[in-house]
Symmetry: C2
Subunit: 289 residues, 2 copies
Amino acid sequence: MSGVLFSRVCIVGVGLIGGSLARAARERGLIGEVVGCSRNAGHLQRAVELGVIDRYSTDLAEAVAGADLVVIATPLGAIRRVLEGIAGHLAEGALITDVGSAKGSVVRDAREVFGGLPPIFVPGHPIAGTENSGVEASFPELFRERRVILTPVEETDPAATARVRALWEGVGAEVVEMSVEHHDEVLAATSHLPHVVAFSLVDTLARLNDRVEIFRYAAGGFRDFTRIASSDPVMWRDICLANREALLKILDDFRADLDRVRSAIERGDGDWLRDTFAAAKRARDDYSA
Amino acid sequence: MSGVLFSRVCIVGVGLIGGSLARAARERGLIGEVVGCSRNAGHLQRAVELGVIDRYSTDLAEAVAGADLVVIATPLGAIRRVLEGIAGHLAEGALITDVGSAKGSVVRDAREVFGGLPPIFVPGHPIAGTENSGVEASFPELFRERRVILTPVEETDPAATARVRALWEGVGAEVVEMSVEHHDEVLAATSHLPHVVAFSLVDTLARLNDRVEIFRYAAGGFRDFTRIASSDPVMWRDICLANREALLKILDDFRADLDRVRSAIERGDGDWLRDTFAAAKRARDDYSA
């Protein structure tokens, strides 16, 4: 379909997302050489052995040299440091994109590090992932039929956005564009809030005295419900901090709703509970239809 | 292995659980004739067509006549009415068991209806189910390698408990016995709380203005997390009311934990968030190992 879109790609953070993008784009012939970068040479060596990257450097300036695309796929909390490390070392015409789960903080960091948002920086977020992490968990089909959100801002060069879009479409994703603010609100609701709630709920049960027995009697629904509590704690710490405002807003909505449910249980209001549960069931069934 | 354990079984409420028990026990030759009972003749007719039951009556007294086992598999809120309908109509030597997700309320109801708990009543609860309901969703493997909790009380005849245990073991379940109070606490934590939280969370999102778009960007983790919000609203209303005390207690623990997470996000306490998420991840990973 398309030929080679980028002749040398530097992937900073070769984990589930970075590794899967490298695998998918190589498999489809969309990219040439792949250079990995992270602080952990052991992980990078493993990525070479797995055929995910061609070579690596733990030095950012060295890793991005000559690359025409830099993909920042580290946890959110490391993005600012990465931007600082690559500023001044990019090749002429190189693009930058990222895969961070919150976009306001990334755009803010980029503005500060570069003294204004570089037109070649295309903020992005693939809505894909599993509860597993690391390059060993990466696989080329991860983005197939998944949505990737790009949040170009006023300063972003439309040609840069188009090239990053082509890469994601090339690996099977559906690309949509929206504002940074809207992205952060939508993701706070559909992803960040559920993760915080799942972590909290498992933590509540784990702190009970009879925790071992408690978990013994958990059924399939519990297993599904709490799967996301197996996600990477550092990644989710970073997301909570990066998308703090939007997350606190939806978290407060949820607490108010939960309080309403609590008081209906307390006063024995069966009709209210049935109607509320039925409305939730309809919304969930519509969504999964 | 075992021969016929009960020669005529009356299943009151031929839905997912009652239907699956009938299918499994018939398939294994553990029971003879199966008589269905509910208020809806159409559902019962469908159960006959599916081969789940042999015949039916919408009249409780008629349905239980001559049965040596009555399985009450209605929603919790209907159990008291069923007990009232069968009292005085049971055959000599007949046993009663139920599958209610809360046991304190059932035992209380039985005590009141019969003027003391009949020794032939064995309160039970299979920890099995799916988010689907109704006889169409029933299947004979539902209980295989699942736990069934029996909560015999002081008055319960050990021989009755042993016979009900044999039926559940015969359909592949692992039977454990515990006190009514302990059952209700354990289930409040592992099942009732997660369902209430999932219903509440989906309700929160469904009430947002941009709800359609919100759900569009939900990923796989969200789908798993909210699956239990597709459960039957009437069943869950009944559970919330029946297990009110234990549920409110664990719900308050959860709200306190969630408030702690909220305040850590607000004050930007990354270390606390990482440690809490990591503890939850360990507990979840241990559980699923």
